[in-house]
Each structure stands twice: as C-alpha cells, then as structure tokens.
C-alpha cells in the first residue's frame, strides 16, 4: 500500500513543483529542506518547464514484476531546459532509436496501478519531440 506517499508527492509528480533557494537561486527537485549549495533553509515554490533533452538512458529488458509485461522500455536521465535533472520513463518510442541528446517533453501519464483494485498512480513521463 503506497497511497499516502503517492498523495504526498502529487505536487512533484503532477505539476513538477520544485524548491528554488531564495539565497543562491539553486533549484532542488524534489524540493529539499536545506539547500545543497548554500545551506539556506528558505525556498520558494517554482514550476519546472516541461521541455528538455536526454542526458543518458538505459533500456530495461527484464523489468521488475509490476513492469515485466511492459518490456523493453527506456528509463532516462533528462535535463530540463532550466537545468534540473530528473529520471523518467520515455514512452511511445521505438527503444532502439532513442539516443543521447534527443529532445523530449514531459507529459502526464499513468505510472502504475496498485494491483487490481487499488489506486491508479499518475505522474510524468517523457516523450520524444
């Protein structure tokens, strides 16, 4: 049962809300309590842009139980245009044609189901642009 955690992470998973340090401007995603750069504890909430590029990626050919029927699929580290890096699945793609440097945008997709009767969990995935 992961529902409470899923609910807590909605601002990040749905809206890409990040913490921008009021002292040095560093953006933390997900938000942190202390700025890793200047140790400041004061942040403002900013919404990340949805466009970026693939920094690196891997093709999952043997997935964990829950995703074993979805293979092969691509998981990438993406650098958004505002410099923030995050990990996301790359959806709707031919896995053998994905390349480092490919431009992507983040879209709203279903990430997983909590079994047959649990919640549908949504969040961001990348698609090639």
């Amino acid at each position: 049962m992961i529902s409470p955690r899923y609910h807590r992470e909605i601002p990040q998973r749905y809206r890409l809300e990040a913490g921008k340090c009021k002292q040095c401007g560093n953006i933390s995603f997900p938000p942190r309590l202390v700025c890793p750069k200047c140790k400041s504890k004061s942040f403002e909430t900013v919404q990340l842009g949805r466009e970026g590029k693939i920094l690196t990626f891997t093709i999952i050919r043997v997935g964990p139980d829950k995703f074993s029927k979805e293979t092969p699929y691509v998981v990438a580290i993406i650098e958004l245009n505002d410099g923030v890096r995050l990990t996301a699945q790359v959806s709707d793609c031919d896995v053998d044609k994905v390349a480092i440097g490919d431009k992507v945008k983040l879209v709203f997709r279903k990430i997983q189901d909590e079994g047959k009767s649990g919640l549908h969990c949504y969040g961001y995935k990348a698609v090639l642009t």
């Binding site: 749905y14 809206r15 919404q47 029927k69 979805e70 709707d92 879209v107 549908h120 949504y122």
Partner: protein
C-alpha cells in the same frame, strides 16, 4: 458574448488498421471499409486513459485561452471510460493543471454524448454568471468486444473547451437537446464490454435523435443549412454522420473538415467535440458551425457556434488536430493491440 475561449485536443499516437481486425475474425475487409467507411483507429498507450487524455487536451486548451487556471470555476469530464467507478476523473486533472481547489468538479456519463453534456453545463454556468470560466471535456478510451462490429470503431482521444465571456473564439449562439428512453446500447455495472442492439442502433436511435435535435436547433435559430460553413455530427463510424447530415440538408463539403472518424475511429465522448476542434483549427472569423452529438440511451445535444476574430490569435498556440491525426503514428498488429487493450488473460 459567451462561448469557447480556448480549445485543445489530444489523440494517442498508436493506430490499428481495420484490415487487421477484420483478418483476425475472418471478416470481409473491403465490406467493412465500404460499409462503415473506417480505415484505421487510434489506440491508447498502456499508460494512457481518459484522465491522461483529458489532462493533455485541457493543457492545450489552457495554452490557447491564455488564462490563469485558478479562474476556472468548474471542470466536467464526460466519458464512458472513466478509470474509476467511484472517484471523479477531474479531481486528478485539476491537481495536474493547477486548477482549484476552489472549483466545482463532476464526472458525466451518457455513452457518446457525455462530452457535449460537459460543454453544455460549462457554458450554462458562465452564462448564468456563476463563474468567469468553466472547462468541459469529452474523452474516452472505449472498448468493443473482440469480433464485435464496435471493435472496428471504438478508439481513444478527447477534446477540452474552456467557456468564458472575454476573448471568445467561438460564440455559442443556440443550443438544443433531444432525449428519450431508447435502449440501443448499454453496459451493466461490472461488465467489461458494452452490449448493443445491432441494427436498432441506427434508425430509431442515432438518426432519430440527431435529426430531431438538429431540426429543432435550426428552427430555434431561424437559420438554414446554407448559412453554415461547417457541420459536424457524432461519428460512430464514417458512414452515419454523412447520412445524418445529408438528411438535415448539409453538403459533403460542409462536413468534410470535421469528418475525421475514418482515420480516428469513434472516440465516443470525444467524437463530435474533436471534429469541432478540427474545424476551429481552420475556420475563419464569421464562419458558423453546426454541431450535433449523440449518446446511446439516447440523446443528442446541438450547438451553433459563430467564429470570431480571436480565432487567428489562438489557433497556433497548441497542436492542431489534423497534424495529430496524420503524423507520428505508431502502427500495432492485432496481438500488440490485444495486449494494449488488456484483452489477453494473464496470470496474476
């Protein structure tokens, strides 16, 4: 002036050709293409559903409307494939798009016309002065039982319309609804696939309701078919809307732009609204659009729109429907399609 201030549509990239479905069940491909006028249909990705489609369509509508999402006072999603039996789809959409929490939200259901219901109520709330903006969406990831005639058409996609009073791109001039107890198509609780009454879905259901809603809408408005540049009707296949339009006095040319079902399939609640979206992508200021939806059960909602000068400012702010329909397609074979649509029985 009250009407649409922003519109947006979303179609999944996956497609299956009707030839492959026909081959699977030993049906006559050419007869189906000729009889139903269907060539291919959209298929949702395994991570797409009515909610994700609605979010993408509404995001594009917001891009075109250029408004603060916080000003939206109501969000209604019409669908026959809401992912939850109990939990409104729009609760998830508003959190994804930064709407609310001071917002009224509901899920609508009325087979294929739930989308125009959402649009009608959104429009009415703005007209009543209850709120500045309201968002109405029609989206579906519909299923037809394997081998059933519906399997050739049931597809996925949706469209979103923000209603408001300022910077209106298409004014709503008149509306009219026509409803009766007509058991042409239904799905009981806990059933996976819908049931339908075969040929009974045509004349006494689809044609009767579209015709009566359309005829009354024309009378109410004092307009005649020749006053319109565009017309769009619910598209359960390629053939029905052409016949229904012709009977009301509309020409093939007037219906051409909104007639997207041969390549999209039947997106149910997102059918005529997505046809409207295709029309708005090309319409000129002053053009009039005639639209009638249909939902089994049965009922039709009719709308008359008048396009304004604003259309030229917003058209290019989001992807156009025809581009989504014609480009970047990923074709599936029947096996992949069956897997995508969870038609294959797996071990737990």
């Amino acid at each position: 002036m009250i009407g649409i201030v922003g519109y947006g549509s979303y179609l999944p990239r996956y497609r299956i050709k009707v030839d492959l479905i026909a081959k699977q069940w030993g049906a006559d491909t050419e007869a189906i293409k000729r009889g139903l006028m269907l060539y291919e249909k959209t298929v949702p990705g395994t991570d797409e559903d009515t909610i994700t489609i609605s979010v993408e369509a509404a995001k594009y509508a917001l891009q075109r409307a250029r408004i603060d999402p916080q000003k939206i006072g109501a969000v209604y999603i019409g669908s026959e494939s809401h992912p939850y039996a109990v939990k409104p789809s729009a609760t998830i959409l508003i959190d994804a798009l930064g709407i609310g929490p001071h917002v009224h939200v509901a899920s609508y259901e009325f087979a294929c016309k739930a989308g125009t219901e959402a649009m009608y109520v959104a429009y009415s709330l703005v007209k009543a002065g209850e709120m500045e903006y309201a968002l109405g969406i029609g989206a579906d990831t519909s299923q037809g039982a394997p081998g059933d005639a519906l399997e050739y058409s049931a597809s996925a996609g949706g469209s979103a319309f923000i209603m408001g009073k300022e910077n209106v791109v298409a004014e709503i001039l008149f509306t009219n609804s026509y409803t009766s107890d007509t058991p042409d198509f239904w799905r009981r609780e806990h059933e996976f696939y819908p049931r339908h009454a075969g040929r009974f879905t045509g004349e006494p259901a689809y044609f009767k309701h579209i015709h009566n809603a359309g005829k009354n809408l024309l009378e109410k408005s004092g307009l005649s078919p020749k006053d319109f540049q565009f017309a769009v009707f619910h598209m359960p296949n390629g053939k029905f809307p052409q016949e229904a339009g012709k009977k009301l006095g509309f020409t093939k040319e007037q219906m051409e732009v909104g007639w997207i079902s041969p390549w999209m399939g039947n997106t149910y609640s997102g059918s005529s609204p997505t046809g409207l979206s295709a029309i708005l992508d090309v319409a000129k200021p002053g053009d009039k659009i005639f639209m009638v939806s249909f939902g089994s059960g049965a009922g039709s909602d009719g709308f008359i729109y008048k396009v304004t000068n604003e259309i030229d400012k917003v058209r290019d702010l989001a992807p156009k429907l025809r581009d989504m329909l014609d480009n970047d397609k990923i074709y599936l074979d029947y096996g992949e399609y069956a897997k995508f649509r969870k038609k294959i029985i797996l071990n737990e």
